[in-house]
Symmetry: D2
Subunit: 353 residues, 4 copies
Amino acid sequence: MSESIEGKLIYSFKNDYSEGAHSNILNAMMNANMDQHDGYGEDSYSKEAVEILKEKINNQNVDIHFVVGGTQANLVVISSILRPYESVIAAESGHISTHETGAIEATGHKINTVETSDGKLTPEKIKKILDEHNSEHMVKPSMVFISNSTELGTVYKKNELEKISLFCRENNLILYLDGARLGTALSSDKNDMTIEDISKLVDVFYIGGTKNGALLGEAIVISNERLKKNFRYNIKQKGALLAKGRILGIQFKELFKENLFFSLGKHANFMSLRLGEKIEKLGYDFLYETESNQIFPIFPNEIIEKLNKKYGFYLWEEVDKDTSAVRLVTSWATKEDMIDKFIEDLKSYSLSK
Amino acid sequence: MSESIEGKLIYSFKNDYSEGAHSNILNAMMNANMDQHDGYGEDSYSKEAVEILKEKINNQNVDIHFVVGGTQANLVVISSILRPYESVIAAESGHISTHETGAIEATGHKINTVETSDGKLTPEKIKKILDEHNSEHMVKPSMVFISNSTELGTVYKKNELEKISLFCRENNLILYLDGARLGTALSSDKNDMTIEDISKLVDVFYIGGTKNGALLGEAIVISNERLKKNFRYNIKQKGALLAKGRILGIQFKELFKENLFFSLGKHANFMSLRLGEKIEKLGYDFLYETESNQIFPIFPNEIIEKLNKKYGFYLWEEVDKDTSAVRLVTSWATKEDMIDKFIEDLKSYSLSK
Amino acid sequence: MSESIEGKLIYSFKNDYSEGAHSNILNAMMNANMDQHDGYGEDSYSKEAVEILKEKINNQNVDIHFVVGGTQANLVVISSILRPYESVIAAESGHISTHETGAIEATGHKINTVETSDGKLTPEKIKKILDEHNSEHMVKPSMVFISNSTELGTVYKKNELEKISLFCRENNLILYLDGARLGTALSSDKNDMTIEDISKLVDVFYIGGTKNGALLGEAIVISNERLKKNFRYNIKQKGALLAKGRILGIQFKELFKENLFFSLGKHANFMSLRLGEKIEKLGYDFLYETESNQIFPIFPNEIIEKLNKKYGFYLWEEVDKDTSAVRLVTSWATKEDMIDKFIEDLKSYSLSK
Amino acid sequence: MSESIEGKLIYSFKNDYSEGAHSNILNAMMNANMDQHDGYGEDSYSKEAVEILKEKINNQNVDIHFVVGGTQANLVVISSILRPYESVIAAESGHISTHETGAIEATGHKINTVETSDGKLTPEKIKKILDEHNSEHMVKPSMVFISNSTELGTVYKKNELEKISLFCRENNLILYLDGARLGTALSSDKNDMTIEDISKLVDVFYIGGTKNGALLGEAIVISNERLKKNFRYNIKQKGALLAKGRILGIQFKELFKENLFFSLGKHANFMSLRLGEKIEKLGYDFLYETESNQIFPIFPNEIIEKLNKKYGFYLWEEVDKDTSAVRLVTSWATKEDMIDKFIEDLKSYSLSK
């Protein structure tokens, strides 16, 4: 059942964490429930999940740690790496730049933001920040933060990431990839990378469970040798070391023991693709290209108002005085009939306009 | 099944979070799984759980927020309240003093520690710290941190808490109670307080779910009006605002809609009481009084070594060159036959000694 | 003697802290040298300086504290006021935004920056930031930082500051004015405010000694009642409470016992005005209007190169491929013959071009 | 003149920063006053002072930076070195432990304190802390803080420091020495070390100017190669990079170009030695041994009360109900006739008792 049972909405496209978890995950948690295990990620499920992930990543030289959420992953990783005077470069649309209540600054670090049209960084944009910071009177940018897929739904191509990676290595910058939506990124039609590629091109990244079918949980993957030491201390200090760490282990085991993680991402993308195509056919434009499970169609305000009575979504941006872009997010749990209903309503509002 | 399936142990008395969750909780999560809900604690389950809790606490003038873990609760609460130069007073055995990897200091605040024999603070001990801090060259102690039950298994009596509460109000100190084990504290034979009493005697406290039958989750309860404002900002900034906040709401609803929370605590205590009595009968002493679900018997080292091959527990403290205290923790999930097995083995090792 | 004795430069226009201190100040320090005084600002000189300042400000309801430097003043004030999740709004050109090595972020707070053409904030620009920050997923902007004179040499008019002040009060924002160059601001031809006006329009500001004839030292003036409490704790904690606080007291007494502070500011402005007029007569443009002791003329790059062999100054900004703006700063210590020499050389390079 | 001109005291033994600066220093500042110099420690005086110091230390492999005060030096050094989860070990009497308003915790780090009878650490005391901290649930002690002379006036012997140094190196601990009173330590009769020894036995230390004849200023000396990188960023971020850095350079040049620093220390010690001997002759005991310029005689309370009307000093500690220890500090500026006066009065109060 959806929130409609509360008489409100037919379906919510607000985000990809509106439902619980994939049934495999809940079942596995049920089955393991009365086992006794060591706490804090030292249980056998977590250890098994780490091994499975290393195999999927095809890279034994990584350290993997599970934490509860994305903001937590970002603040633990970033604060663990930077010296006090060092800063992190991110897109203005980056999650850490705007939607984490100053979590990074709260650990003492400035974010140097970069304007982008598509949420993606480039070596040129990074270089500009470096060039502007040239003395001890300014912070020292030492890390680059990117998201894949981005907060605007776009996806990095392999050669784009390679260029950034090369630039970072040449300039002694740590490259960190926020993979809150890595599942849809790697399952996108636009994608030409494997998770192994990512593990080799970045110093550290995280694989998002919360937005791809888990109840909660993100897996931090550290490739860079010098970032590995004592990492669990950082997790514990920031309150991110879950007592019953087994919960995270069980979930990641389920997501990766076969290919559930990727098939859930593929489903979410497919729903957006379908939704997007149908919206386009009705003659509407988009703010950004549809590349993963977030789409940003532009509708007349009066239609938005009507849709909003039946469907949940965020108003994204005013385009002109009569039209605005909205954000529609599909997920592993979105059913095709909800797409169809939305389109049906949109069509009828469009005609009656 | 216990870890014994891995050929290691019959049962672990290491802590009260070795198993998953009470079956009511898992079932409720299953049932709610495909509902759509708003994120970040704005779902109807969380709202319902808040109402249920307010009723149980019999106090409508509290704000309630759910977070994932205890260290997180402590760091969010403490950092949200103190001005930069203010410190918190705690027992040396307090969780924040030693077992949170400097989480409180990482938010900028000193902990003024106090030696105790039983893990409990008193007005006299608090006053001593205040007296020592009398100028701007020292931190300004502005908050008192207590745990109930304490990290040594002891439980506050109502008149003890009343005295501390009065002293704090007279001295303009915020009183914060860490209730990671509030379930066993309030279900203890020694206890003479209700949760309502607590909500009226302290400014803020948290109710521990993780150690009392939940998968994860703690409920922060704020009584003091001036601590309420904008509290969700603090939660979000520290990475403690769970995307699928529904998970926390569902669990606290289950724990409190009837009296599951208290009956689980009672069970845990009863197991410890039973275990303690039988150990005592075998002629062993204890480091601290048995008041809740943690007991600290003193055994000869050679017996400890033997027990440790079959049972999980922490070595707590050397008593003399031949004997040590160990910590045995029982929980909502401990079955009586495990107590019996432990006692049987202890008896046999004691005889053969 | 200038650095020219090292064979390098005739004169440096790099900044307004290239020389030592006005002779009155050094003499007063000499005379007081062997007096014994209490440390940490509790000496009679500091107390006297506070009384003199209150009289000059014509406002007895202020608290005044002396610290050593501007970055220190900024970080002490800002971190003492904001709750952990609160941010400060500043111009992109603001000192805290770029030239303090992340000092504000190091105390845990984000700076929301605003683009400006002249270094000045307006209610409209502030409102835009407020409008964008509307939930606990973002920081809460709670303070406004302005500089007078600004980092671009411009000066606030009374009605501009009144509008900002009114907007801040209506929106519950603390208004803080960085007066590192308040001496030249209040002595500018463009200025129509008194220091009393400032103390009534802002919640807290500081009066810069370092850039206006003192060896070192800034006076923080707090008008807002609720910011006053325990302020010395913040100063001490950040390492800003000088042991021999008398040094700061003596200097501010000298600067304000008559009108030395203002006459030094006037002199610095006059030198810039004169320098600017002569540059303008030679046909050159300016990046910003000349309003105080910093001017930003635009020269051909080849002339800049020549000037730079004889005079110290900062290259400010590329204007086009052939020309750039430079920053020339005059001070209380700049002598007119140095202006003349500079103009002479500029004229000769301009002719030979 | 002393504070007596205000009708209060004949002389203050409260601390060693009651007067201004040695006349050589003031004269040098006068002479250099109208020179133009680059800011922020890049002036020729600071550079010269660094070279002079390196020679005195007889160690070219050190980096030297000047900051304004001791708390500042401590917080800049400690926060620049430790990872977020790392702590610093210090004596309970250590300056950072109690008298810096939580400055170290404000940068995010716990201080592990050690009880001592004489203010000095030993490998055994340090080891005990290491042994207690053995998992990621606790901070990781990574630095040792010692003061020489200590806050109790005692002085490290070379073999004591060698043992600590060796232990630190074997245990991968950074050793930091707070030399706020290094001048009196190295000039003490008990001392058998050179400043060169210190630079080789510790990783980083600071040489205190404020308490040994300078107006203000401490010189941080870094021996450990890996602590040197980008250190100026840390100084700037914490507000400790003085704009007119020349002031610090001039002073350290004067203190070290010959042996002023050491002769001032010797004088201060000599005054304490003399004062102590005469007090002892009058039959009084001491709380700690007299080893440098702080002494802690034990007097009857009624005599303390009388003395306090004529002389400034701190009441240190109650010894029993009738007697207390006081702290008397002599300095570079203490004249012998003040010692004589004090003794004369003490003698007369003692007789009349």
